[in-house]
């Protein structure tokens, strides 16, 4: 049994954490949010330079890490520092490229020359129905894509998209370049900071990644890696909220005593601390599962997302509540951590979805 991350990973964590704290503290982040771009490319580039993206991928694929615990370290710091950038999309898209041995593309992303994102979720119209899956047609040597994807992270800023096409077990993945003919992006800010967009393809030229109609399992594992990332990001945010709340309970006085003296709050603080530890364990389980691969990866990833959904909401809501009015303000960091934590619940499926998936995967395992 060994729960340590290893010195190298700790060094990486320290350097990412220090960079974010020094260069991208609370105030700098608020400034970036208020800027016309709505995020900080500079902070993103700085993190890439320190190896945040390289650590996500194996050496053979053009990175210098690639294990689940490398991902854990990177996303833990992203959570702690509330970094904005296409990290999650880059990870999942990169994992698809990695599986197909597309090292040249990964190298460009690791080197910071290109921004990569993942277009996987069908767009939804005002009537609440999902758009048809993106359709791929052969055209000469390559393919053309038609269809729409929704809430694609950093769609407008990305240079490259990995796009999921087809449906069910017949999935294929394609690489599309920004500015390709027939590609349109409607960009907007997101509640938790950063950007996303609706992406429409109309006979858009695309290059097949790997084999046609054989991408389902690869995408599943890429999304599982994404869930591991969110589990560690979420866990780090929960730690921050726990610590900030403890600090506030000590320092805020009402009725002449610190509010932490009120047992009504003490017990809830105790529950928060417990649930943070459970979320930590779920994140570890998910990372171990990802290393194992196959069904184990998917099931542990879903388990982590269920835990993250439930415990994350609890931490976010309790942290705001125990801070009173101050917890509701824009200037005070607690609200931004809470917003990101809640919005993690809106990425890659919510806890209800993953609870069902956990049940279904369990049946598959038993069968």
């Amino acid at each position: 049994m060994d729960f340590s991350l290893g010195t190298e990973r700790e060094l990486l964590a320290n350097s990412l954490g220090r960079y974010l704290a020094d260069k991208f503290g609370s105030e700098a982040r608020l400034k970036a949010l208020a800027s016309p771009e709505g995020w900080s490319r500079e902070a993103y580039d700085g993190l890439v330079e320190l190896g945040a993206v390289g650590a996500m991928f194996t050496e053979e694929a053009g990175g210098y890490g690639g294990s689940a615990f490398d991902i854990a370290v990177v996303f833990g710091e992203i959570g702690r520092g509330l970094a904005m950038g296409p990290f999650l999309g880059t990870l999942m898209a990169g994992k698809v490229l990695e599986a197909a041995g597309e090292t040249a593309v990964i190298e460009e992303v690791v080197g910071g020359e290109k921004l990569l994102t993942f277009a996987h979720e069908p767009a939804q119209g005002p009537d609440g129905r999902a758009a048809e899956p993106v359709r791929a047609e052969k055209a000469g040597d390559g393919y053309k894509l038609t269809g729409a994807k929704g809430v694609v992270s950093f769609a407008d800023e990305a240079d490259l998209f990995v796009v999921m096409a087809g449906s069910g077990t017949e999935l294929s993945t394609f690489l599309v370049k920004a500015g390709a003919p027939g590609l349109t992006v409607q960009s907007y800010p997101v509640v938790d900071g950063g950007k996303a967009g609706e992406v429409v393809f109309k006979d858009t030229p695309a290059a097949l990644i790997g084999e046609e109609a054989k991408a389902a399992q690869i995408v599943d594992q890429a999304v599982a890696a994404g869930l591991v990332a969110l589990a560690w990001e979420g866990y780090a945010i929960m730690q921050v909220l726990r610590d900030k709340t403890v600090e506030y309970l000590r320092e805020r006085k009402q009725f002449g005593i610190p509010i932490g003296k009120f047992q009504a709050l003490q017990h809830r603080m105790g529950t928060m601390a417990l649930e943070v530890e459970q979320a930590h364990s779920a994140a570890i389980n998910a990372a171990v599962g990802l290393e194992e691969g196959g069904n184990a990866a998917l099931r542990a990833a879903s388990a982590a997302k269920v835990t993250l959904g439930k415990n994350g909401s609890l931490l976010a809501e309790e942290a705001i509540q125990m801070h009173g009015g101050i917890g509701m303000t824009w200037e005070f960091a607690v609200s931004h951590y809470a917003k990101r934590l809640i919005m993690i619940g809106h990425e890659l499926g919510d806890e209800d979805y993953h609870l069902q998936r956990f049940i279904d995967l369990g049946k598959e395992e038993a069968a």
């Binding site: 119209g125 907007y188 509701m328 809640i342």
Partner: protein, 398 residues
């Protein structure tokens, strides 16, 4: 025991519906339904429409421009206007200061201030909380010192909702620093245009601007703006808070919001099926509906007791707790219903007349902002923790 509407109640409901159909501007109900921001002018417009009909302050006595409605009628009115997506009546004048003046104000004060609330001459805001005095409101420090026929006020209030629209603020001020802290508080009406009053906005987590800090530096307030007796303000303040709490419970607003939630869940597709058919989501919706039905009856029971002259005490705390929990749960399910589309944050779409390309399901635009904004419901009006204390104190007597 009979919870059915009498024929008179039915007729009354029809009357309210007819009024709403004729008088509630579509423009306003559209904005409310879409969760768009209401401007000061929007709120004033709706107040004026209600006032014209004599329905702006139904809970006031008839001689001051109120009504003689029964408890049931008031409940019907509240739910019908909420279900029609009418703007909420701004509570500070009508539902907070009004009842205090009616009970504790002088005849002169009633005759001067009450009509001005109704006709919109004054927009009131509430100056209770201070940076150091939140849950422990009685520890407030803003000081008023009598000098001749004026008070000189110094100090700071905070979290003042819609203070940016207000010209008047009712304040709790300290007039005596000795003895029990509750016994040195007075209730003072302050004109915000007096020299020395300064307002600073506070941005909330949803990016919106609805609360403020208010600073007082040597502000001169005429003594006739003291309500009731000096150092008796705590009694009036607490009386006001029971009204505030019942108002925050917002059963009518929850009924309207629940309907919107159900529509959203019927329309939204998840994994190829309407979300409302998802067993987990359906279970949460059903639980919410059960809680809301129970709450409706609890609310009517409290109103009924109040109608028979029993002042609401712990009951108003119960309404506040469960009412706000229900409203928060509705906003929680709304955001969950939107899935990934809870994340887009298109601020321009919260304003009237936005005609940008729609993003995602039609209901999704404001759901995340509403969810975060509604965290306030369990904090203000006395936090839900404090309400639980009030309830148990009234029972334990320890």
């Amino acid at each position: 025991m009979d919870l059915k509407f009498s024929p008179e109640d039915q007729a009354f409901r029809e009357e309210v519906r007819a009024f709403l159909k004729e008088k509630l501007p579509q423009r306003l109900s559209d904005k409310v339904r879409k969760g768009q921001h209401l401007s000061k002018a929007d709120m004033e417009e709706w107040h004026a429409i209600l006032h014209e009909r004599g329905w702006l302050a139904p809970h006031w006595p008839v001689e001051h421009g109120g009504t003689d409605w029964s408890v049931m009628q008031r409940f019907i009115f509240e739910t019908e206007i909420a279900m029609a997506h009418a703007p909420r009546v701004v509570p500070f004048g009508v539902s907070m200061l009004g009842p205090v003046l009616l009970k504790y104000g002088s005849e002169e004060q009633k005759n001067h201030w009450l009509p001005r609330i109704l006709d919109g001459s004054d927009w009131w805001c509430q100056g209770y909380s201070e940076p150091g005095a939140g849950s422990d409101l009685a520890s407030l420090k803003t000081k008023a010192v009598r000098e001749g026929d004026h008070y000189i006020v110094n100090g700071q209030k905070t979290w003042t909702t819609l203070g940016q629209h207000a010209n008047m603020i009712f304040c709790l001020v300290r007039t005596n620093s000795e003895g029990k802290k509750q016994e040195g508080i007075s209730f003072l009406l302050i004109d915000m245009n007096t020299p020395g009053v300064e307002l600073r906005p506070i941005k909330l987590l949803d990016g919106d601007y609805e609360v403020n800090e208010v600073f007082f530096t040597d502000v001169k307030v005429p003594v006739e703006n003291l309500v009731g007796e000096e150092n008796k303000g705590w009694t009036y303040a607490k009386y006001l808070l029971t009204y505030e709490r019942t108002n925050i419970a917002g059963v009518g607003a929850s009924m309207a919001a629940f309907k919107v939630l159900k529509e959203a869940a019927s329309m939204q597709f998840r994994n190829g099926k309407p979300l409302i058919e998802d067993p987990r989501f359906a279970a949460r919706l059903a639980q919410l509906e059960i809680d809301l039905e129970n709450m409706k009856t609890t609310n009517l029971r409290v109103l009924d007791a109040a109608g028979h002259g029993k002042a609401p005490g712990a009951e108003s705390s119960m309404l506040k707790i469960r009412g706000t929990e229900i409203r928060q749960e509705i906003s929680d399910l709304m955001r969950r219903a939107a899935g990934s589309y809870a994340r887009p944050f298109i601020e321009a779409s919260f304003e009237e007349g936005y005609n940008g390309e729609p993003v995602g399901p039609a209901f999704a635009g404001p759901v995340a902002s509403d969810y975060f904004n509604y965290r306030k419901l369990s904090i203000f009006g006395g936090s839900n923790e404090v309400q639980r204390e009030i309830i148990t104190k009234s029972m334990l007597g320890l």
